[in-house]
């Protein structure tokens, strides 16, 4: 188990986080007093059955959604104290995103999509870093293509590159391989693994695929809005085993 007080030096953390939808009878506790932290330089997977609150936790951690009570921190900053403008800057500079689908702006080329967060912030692109990222995801030959001209796997690679390009404190990935065939999925996961091991990136990934979770350093299990378990250095068999227990 993790320590009950999250270390403020963690890349991201939630403290007594609760998220309640609806009122009275129709009240749904998507998150119920969750306390968890995500160490820098680690690849963490969040798992749980449908409706366990794993996506909500991630959205709140990333500043995309707000909590009903409790606090979330990114790089030691309490997000509840930030206004829309500050949240925007945080998302642009400290956080990277990889979604399950619809990751890219259809009218921009792959390269333009990769540098978009930097461009939006008016930040000069670090060309050396960009080259490194692009070659890490093997996109050199596809940079001028529009998303519609790329395969699903390639599109996700662009999304990974975009998340890496601004060197965020932490990257949140929401079922990044959910829409991909297993080969492309494995490719994306190895890129993410590589980003953590070799480039020192911090990644938090929501997934329901035990194989994907096996790429992580640590797996946190959620059920009914609560953290119920965790494993470090998992194998897919271990994960599957835990999932079965949660499901029963």
């Amino acid at each position: 188990m993790t320590s009950t007080t999250p270390t403020l030096v963690a890349a991201a953390a939630a403290l007594n986080a609760s998220k309640i939808y609806g009122k009275d009878d129709s009240e749904v506790r998507a998150l119920d007093d969750v306390t968890v932290d995500f160490t820098e330089g680690q690849f963490t997977a969040i798992m749980g059955p449908s409706g366990s609150g794993k996506s909500t936790l991630m959205h709140c951690l990333a500043g995309l959604d707000t909590l009903s009570s409790g606090k979330v921190f990114v790089d030691g900053t309490d997000l509840s104290g930030l206004n829309d403008r500050e949240l925007t800057v945080l998302r642009r500079e400290q956080v990277g995103f990889i979604f399950q689908a619809y990751n890219l702006i259809p009218t921009l080329t792959a390269l333009e999509n990769i540098t978009l967060p930097l461009d939006l912030g008016g930040v000069e692109v670090d060309q050396t870093w960009l080259n490194e990222v692009v070659s890490a995801v093997k996109l050199e030959s596809r940079l001028t293509h529009r998303p519609s001209e790329l395969s699903g796997g390639q599109q996700q690679r662009v999304a990974v590159a975009r998340a890496l390009a601004s060197r965020p404190k932490i990257i949140f990935a929401d079922e990044p391989t959910g829409n991909l065939d297993s080969r492309s999925g494995a490719e994306i996961l190895s890129f993410m693994r590589h980003a953590v091991s070799d480039l020192g990136q911090t990644i938090v990934m929501v997934t329901h695929d035990p194989v994907a979770a096996a790429y992580a350093d640590r797996v946190v299990f959620l059920a009914d809005g609560k953290v119920v378990d965790e494993i470090t250095s998992p194998t897919s068999e271990q994960v599957l085993d835990r999932m079965k227990k949660l499901g029963s």
């Binding site: 995309l64 403008r85 925007t88 642009r92 619809y102 921009l108 939006l120 008016g122």
Partner: protein, 854 residues
Amino acid sequence: MTSPVIRLTLRGVLARKFRILLTVFAIVSGVAFVSGAFMLTDSVKTAINSLFQELRGDIALEVRTPIAFGDEARAKRDPVPDALASGIKAVAGVSSVELNITRESTIVKPDGKPLKTSGPAFGISWVGQNGLDGRTILAGREARGPNEVAIDKASAKRAGYVMGDTVTVVGPTGKGEFKLVGLTGTGKTSGGGGASVCAFDPVTADSFLGAKGLADSIYIGLEKGASRSTVQKDIAKVLTSKYEVIPGEQSAKETAGAINDIIDIFGKLLLGFAAISLFVSAFLIFNTFAIIISQRLRELALLRAIGASSLQIRLMILGEALIIGIVATGFGILGGVGVSKGITALFNATGAAFPSATITISTRTIIASLLVGIGVTVTAAMVPALRTSNIPPVAAMRPEMGFTAMQRGKRLVAGAATLLAGIALLCIGLFVQPGGAIGILGASGLGAILLFLGVASLSTSFAAPVSAVISRILPFPIWPMTRSVAGRLASRNAQRTPRRTATTASALMIGLALVSTVAVIAASVQKSFKDRLQGSVTADYYVTSDGFQGLPPAFAEKLAALPELGKVSPFRASTAQINGESKQIGAVNVDMGDIVNVKLTSGSFASLAKGQILVHRDPARDLSLTVGSSVTITWQNGTTSKLIVGGIYSDSSIAGNWLVSLNVLAQASTAPPVDFFIGAKIAPGINIDVARAAVDKVAEEFPSAQVQDQAEFQKSREDQLNQLLIIVYCLLVFAIGIAVLGIANTMALSVYERTREFGLLRAVGMSKRHLKRSVRWEAIIVSVFGATLGVTVGVPLGVAVSIALPKSFVNGIQIPITTIVFVLLASIVVGIIAAIGPARRAAKLDVLEAISAI
């Protein structure tokens, strides 16, 4: 490196080229009318100014009688005695003096028919080879002696006369035959700007044109090197104060100015129309942007999620509006050239003589077009753009968490408040009438806009129930569309998104509201006009002139001499001042009392013979005049008459507001009078055909005369009104065209939005035909909804405006049921037309692709 916002904006526009093209088209037409209005007025004015400048030629100075007040260009001035010429000629520096005698003279073609002209038909006095006034001899020589004439080359060609022919000319004193000795031109052209010109030597002109030793004015040419201002002062010294000496270009400027005023009115009409079409376009743009934004919800949310600020998103949307605005303005200005040329051509085809002009595009035109085109587009996109701030970034992953729409309660309050404010302003504008014309137009115009906005906003609340009703009663009560699956789907779709249904319908609502407003006003005006004419047109014959200068008095005299006719009276008019305000004073002889029924409420018509004045009850009330009170009239030549009110009447449709005898009117000017129309009664016991034949025979001598019996006269007056109304209707139909475009656009967007749904329907077995039908039904529901709203708003609006119009213009409201039913039925057609493209698109969807679309 370009900013990402600019890049996203440009790519966004390029990705939606077709959609945006439709939007652009709506704005283009509005801008085209704005720029066209300016271009038309600018170029026609320039052409008219230069034409009149050219006509001035070498006239350095002009002597004429001054007027006491009023419009310099249209004033009927006292003439100048020919005798003054010799005194002026003697002044040092004067090289030549010419008498300006210009009277109506019609050329009769060899076949005996009068030569029709689009401008005035002039007879003038001409001295020497080339006149001071810019007219030149192009062939032959000037007319000398009583049997010769020179006519303008263009008219000679049209009439088929060649040099040496005998030309018949009808002038103020009657018919004359002259030998054609010369062809004239004006400046570099062979015509007279649509006018025909018959030039006589001064003696012949004096007698044939009935000038009787008096000229309209005297033209003066200067010796080389003479100072104009010195000569002007010297001439003033030899003249009494009864005359004025003015620079030669002054009266040209006055005349051109008077014509320019008419052109300006025309320009304002076009601008008014542009305003309507832009207002409708603004709704269309608002609509398009609102839909485009909800379609791009995920994209915009994604941008927000990866760090775009809400300001950047707003700028991106407004940037797209800006690009649309700029492109549309560019096309709009091109369209304006077309509008301006088209209108000139249209008017010239119907007989008006707009001088041919190169299109002038001034900086003002471009600035106004840019302001209007870009302004309207960006303003209309403002609200949808601001709404993007409500997009939560999390919608990138959960599209169902999109907009939180304005709460129903809030929207009802806002809509009702806008509506009430609009009605209040409209009532103030129409009935309180603050601050003259600008106040009335401003308050009621703004009121109407608020009214429309209020209704548009409120209509969201009842779009669903009304759509349900419409789909239950359409197409006919026997077989409602809800019986078929396609119809039911269409009905549910219209009800499911009341907001979209309402905004789509709003553009048509405004268009049809305007149409029904105008229809009610027009019907009321028409009915009042007809009723009044029926009551007052009691003459058996009306003779009017289709020329520019009215009828010579000789005509009325000849008619009066006919034994077949009973009472005959001419109608003349002159401008005068009463209580410091310009009024039109009519003059008739006492017989008119039996020819035209002015509906006397007190006094007698016979009092005219005693030199008294008859007054319409409206001005009588305003000035508190009753029978026996006195009125002081100042005529334009400065003389005054103090007249006793001899009667009050209530029908001004034919006689106007003030009536005096012909003798009294003679004080207004010593210039030869012209008659506006002549009224006549058949003598008792005379057969109608015999009388008509006698009148027609006299009319043959006066080519510009038009004889009409009661029915013909009434019809011709009604036709004039109808022509005007048709123009107004045409313009409004155009506004509806834009609304159709709006519905088509929105339907296309909503088809796109429902790609997946359509795919699903096709997958479970719906045929292409059914799908098409469903889309078409929905468009019909939306347009019938819009049309119903439009008529509901427009008819009361039309009634309100009709009530507010002066009683002398509208008395009694008429609601044109047929027109309104037609409008409602036409809206069904509008729906079908608007659905053509979108339905085809929906049917073309590939089932598999549609299902997997996100």
